[in-house]
């Protein structure tokens, strides 16, 4: 079957995966600002879930 344009489907998941990976790794490598990188990066998927789940956009 035709899968549509791959970039359009996979851009957001790839970006979120990359951001999650950075968030999981940063605080492991050091303290201080690297902790803040982790918090910020791992907040992205949480906010993303909340935004799309609760927003009233009509699709």
């Amino acid at each position: 079957m035709k899968a549509g344009r791959p970039y359009r489907i996979w851009a957001a998941p790839l970006a979120l995966g990359l951001i999650s990976g950075i968030g999981l790794t940063a605080a492991l490598l050091g303290e201080g600002w690297l902790d803040i990188v982790s918090w910020t990066a791992l907040a992205v998927p949480v906010i993303c879930c909340a935004w799309y789940s609760f927003s009233d956009r009509v699709n």
């Binding site: 079957m1 035709k2 899968a3 489907i9 492991l28 907040a43 949480v46």
Partner: protein, 384 residues
């Protein structure tokens, strides 16, 4: 992708999920309070911190602390002396009914300055102990732990097959689409796909590091029967020393051997982590990353001389690094809160998956995909 291939992926996703979901829900729900284990223990008064002292206090004699612990439980043996880099004013003493028993009989907290007993951790009681046992082995010992590890492998297969299905499913849908005006089933299907793909990497990492953690007993067992056996081989034919030498001297000797590291814990002679003739001081680094990794330093229990030390093999290091990535305890309270929020989202992914399976339509996948294509084609036609 060919429709027949897609059908196989769909079957993989369905059956791996059906088998593991109940256990994953158990692990997520029990894991939620466990993220805050440290905070809850302090709030309940189970764990105590050493009080702040105004004057510059000295250091108590470690051997006196060990003697105090032994006097409190005369039949038991001190198995480990435990340090906490975040709490330099405390020593923790772990005891067992015998030196090699894997069960803990007492876990004491001592003030490292005054040598006074500060706390006696209440073992195997309370809400958190139940959560821990359900999470670790469901009260079924090593078999239960390994079973949960196998369920974790099914979860990984479920997540990967879910990603494969995501592409064709999203064919003509924009990222994040939740079709609220459609049936409840469609709405939950959209939510399942959205929440699943967004939390994928976190869920996969926590799942796979959990699987590695289920192997901790076999992993350390292998280290004991190979590397530790080699380290203690020189003393194999000697009788164990009649009297155990100073623990304080052993700690000092290990510290001199590894001046850039700090003590994580020290196993006492006769314990499976030490060998019959030696203390084994497990040293850790002082940076965030190296603090996760251990280096065993073997100290002769009679002479307090360092007789061997070597880095842990890759499989133990992999286990040690997988622990923080599973527990989420390496970035302060904000990281723990994010861990909890991601766990809640994960519960929603599992719950919606379960709902979709229970409400499944008895139509074959080909028919459903055909419908999806017609319907998205219709949407396109309307938009143009």
């Amino acid at each position: 992708m060919r429709i027949s291939t897609l059908r196989i992926w769909y079957q993989i996703h369905k059956w791996t999920s059906v088998i593991c979901t109940a256990f994953m829900l158990l692990l997520c729900i029990t894991g939620l309070p466990l993220i805050f284990h440290h905070e809850i223990d302090h709030a309940l008064g189970y764990s105590v911190d050493p009080p702040a002292l105004s004057s510059a206090a000295g250091r108590a004699d470690v051997d006196a602390i060990i003697a105090d612990a032994e006097a409190r439980r005369p039949g038991d043996a001190v198995q480990f002396l435990v340090a906490d880099p975040h709490q330099p004013n405390a020593w923790y003493v772990r005891m067992g009914e015998t030196i090699s028993n894997s069960d803990v009989s007492a876990f004491y907290t001592y003030d490292a300055r005054s040598g006074q007993l500060l706390g006696d951790y209440p073992l195997n009681q309370g809400f958190m102990a139940v959560m821990l046992r359900l999470h670790v082995d469901m009260y079924a010992g090593l078999a239960g732990t390994l079973f949960l590890g196998a369920m974790g492998m099914l979860l990984a297969a479920s997540l990967i097959s879910g990603v494969v299905l995501y592409g064709p499913y999203m064919g003509k849908l924009a990222f994040g689409s939740v079709r609220r005006q459609r049936s409840q089933r469609i709405r939950w299907l959209d939510l399942h796909n959205l929440l699943g793909i967004v939390t994928l990497v976190w869920f996969l990492v926590v799942g796979l590091t959990g699987v590695i953690n289920t192997l901790s007993i076999p992993i350390f067992g292998h280290w004991q029967s190979t590397q530790l056996a080699e380290m203690t081989a020189t003393h194999r034919d000697h009788p164990p020393p009649a009297q155990r030498g100073s623990a304080a001297a052993a700690v000092a000797a290990a510290q001199r051997a590894e001046p850039d590291m700090q003590l994580s814990f020290m196993a006492f002679p006769g314990n499976p982590f030490a060998g019959q003739h030696h203390y084994m001081a497990f040293m850790q680094g002082t940076t965030a990353l190296t603090a996760q990794v251990l280096k065993p330093v073997m100290v002769d229990a009679a002479s307090a001389e360092v007789t061997a030390s070597r880095n842990m093999p890759w499989y133990v290091t992999a286990l040690l690094l997988s622990q923080p990535l599973h527990f989420g305890d390496y970035g302060g309270l904000p990281l723990k809160i994010l861990w909890a929020l991601l766990t809640v989202i994960t519960i929603a992914v599992l719950g919606s998956g379960l709902y979709l399976w229970l409400k499944r339509r008895e139509t074959p996948i080909e028919e459903r995909l055909q419908k999806l294509r017609l319907q998205t084609a219709g949407v396109e036609a309307v938009r143009q």
